[in-house]
Symmetry: C2
Subunit: 340 residues, 2 copies
DNA sequence: ACCGTGATGGAAAGCGCTTTCCCCCATCGC
DNA sequence: GCGATGGGGGAAAGCGCTTTCCATCACGGT
């Protein structure tokens, strides 16, 4: 049972009657070739003993591991889980294992995880959207990342190019601006934006992009209501907006989750979205595509973004930082019908 | 820069003018105590050199790691990402890193991951719902798991107790049966079930539980339409059902995703759910709580399940297998109004 | 004054691999 | 027929830690 300690390579070598070196070469490949006959003997011995290589030992001897780290704010958020899904699939193709780090949006945790991944000698790290305007924290993260990179690690980020690493840049500004323009062409004239916390970059960028588009086209800035960057935040923000007497004909929630909360708030207040008021979101979360009325939003290829981030981080390192821009596509649905 | 190889413990020891042993004891704790003065010197040296322990080396020396593996079918599915979220949070509390393995429902991948986790000498493995009726595959997984356990590993499963490990058993049967009873008490009499593939245990159990409840109360078995265990599967199944002329007043989709697809199919067919037909799901996926009409479903405490699974797998090992039952709670919403 | 005791520091033996050398021997060219 | 050549096996040196086993040293009891 659990008594007999796991077979080691030496056990296999002995069993096969070859040297440790040969066993290693036969089992885990190398540039050196082993005579087929011996190779077979080693393989047989290994399977007979139920040998499983010790990845930690290999990591030590080889000086490199087969794991990559992924930092997300909240894996149960569909935005991140979709990215994670794409990244995980790509990782699997490369034979890499993914270390999932759920930061919960806590800077302390983020740093702890970064340290842990470094300790693990992870081959690469992908940071997904933990961007904040908190300069102090961003600086600390940049510092940790830099020493990780100096130690031979690779890293990439998803979202804003604020860290000294390659990044998959999501065009939040452009997407939101395009959405604003689209809403205007649909006939809307008075808008409000439901935003997340001010120091959340995604939120700030989307808000700014939308405002810019709106301002350019109508000459006026949309109103703004801030709350949490979540379903409930959207609900609260929308409720507040409605209470204040909504002098608006359309509302842009900076992400789909907030938009869905807003939808619910409208429903509760007896406001019919699509007829009385238009609502739009951002991300095009898959599980949210069936809400009613269908939510107008900006589609982001989330899984592809995850895949891309991994490709970026595993590809040829380059001297200068690379940015891979990703543009969203405005998807119009029933929540923003053309206005007569 | 990247030239100077990372500082090792010996570097720190030398810098601090102490032995390797002392440095180790001072930095990574142990039962042995180090004089405060020395301790401080070591800490200073470490920080001066930017020392980061090598987890792989520690794993080798200690014979144990700080990682746990999590196998899920598809992390981008909210069911699994919620479980993963709960588990990840719990792992963080224990200072453990989570290896995320996305099997994509492919048996081959599942086995590969299991082997990989064993190679990594993961402290524990949690298998989340990859249960299938495929006996051959289940047997192979059981085999891999057993040798992993024999090697001193710990493992737990979420869903059905089919593997030789502790498991968080989700009472799919009971939940579905309770749902059936509830629907009947609401006045429904003719039901249909939208199921996933036959060899998917979750689906089969929910169907059976529902059928049992229905049969006991009405004396008749609900009709059944099978398709994929996904939103689109639900959509297709429901479309087919509607085409065949629906002699039913309520439909149970074996999970929320399918139910939402069904909702969409109804909408497209001009059938108003809540008035013309009732629809219910299972899981109570958070992001789906705002669909309209509100979906009646069976709530599962997904995050808690993830947490629990980790607790189970990290707790005192026990001789006999433990099962931790989890019961869902029927949540009635507008999609199944009382029938007059 | 002497020896048992407990607290600490250090030397060194691994942990399980990979990989560099080194060496042997069968081939090959002339 | 003989040295050069190279394919392929093995010994052994790490990789960076932890931990056992000693060795010291300062006390306290008698």
């Amino acid at each position: 049972m659990a008594g007999e300690r796991a077979a080691t390579l030496s056990d296999v070598a002995r069993e096969a009657g070859v040297s440790l070196a040969t066993a290693s070469r036969a089992l885990n490949g190398s540039d050196r070739v082993v005579r087929p006959e011996l190779q077979e003997r080693v393989l047989a011995a290994a399977s007979k003993l139920g040998y499983t290589a010790n990845a930690n030992a290999q990591a030590m001897a080889r000086g490199s591991t087969e794991t990559v780290g992924l930092l997300v704010k909240d894996i149960s958020d569909p935005y991140f889980s979709s990215i994670a899904g794409g990244l995980a699939d790509e990782a699997e193709k490369h034979g890499l294992l993914v270390m999932l780090c759920n930061t919960g949006g806590q800077p302390e945790r983020e740093k702890k995880f970064l340290a842990a991944l470094r300790r693990q000698r992870s081959r690469a790290i992908v940071l997904a959207g933990s961007d904040t305007a908190d300069v102090r924290h961003t600086g600390e993260v940049a510092g940790l990342l830099t020493s990780y990179l100096d130690g031979g690690g690779r890293a990439a980020a998803i979202s804003q190019p604020r860290l000294p690493v390659d990044t998959v840049v999501i065009d939040n500004h452009g997407g939101a601006k395009a959405l604003a323009e689209r809403l205007i062409s649909l006939g809307y004239r008075r808008a409000a934006v439901l935003t997340g916390p001010e120091d959340l970059l995604v939120s700030a960028e989307r808000q700014a992009g939308f405002a810019e588009g709106w301002l350019e086209a109508t000459g006026s800035e949309p109103a703004t209501v801030g709350d949490e960057f979540s379903r409930d935040g959207g609900h609260r923000a929308m409720s507040r907006l409605l209470e204040d007497g909504p002098d608006v004909d359309c509302v842009f929630a900076v992400n789909d989750l907030m938009a869905v909360g807003a939808l619910a708030a409208c429903r509760e207040a007896g406001v019919e979205v699509g007829r009385d008021l238009a609502v739009a979101g951002f991300d095009d979360i898959e599980t949210l595509r069936d809400v009613t009325p269908g939510l107008t939003t900006v589609r982001l290829p989330l899984a592809a973004i995850g895949r891309l981030a991994l490709e970026l981080v595993l590809g040829e390192p380059s001297a200068e930082l690379r940015n891979k821009p990703i543009h969203g596509e405005v998807v119009v649905r029933e929540s923003t019908p053309p206005r007569s």
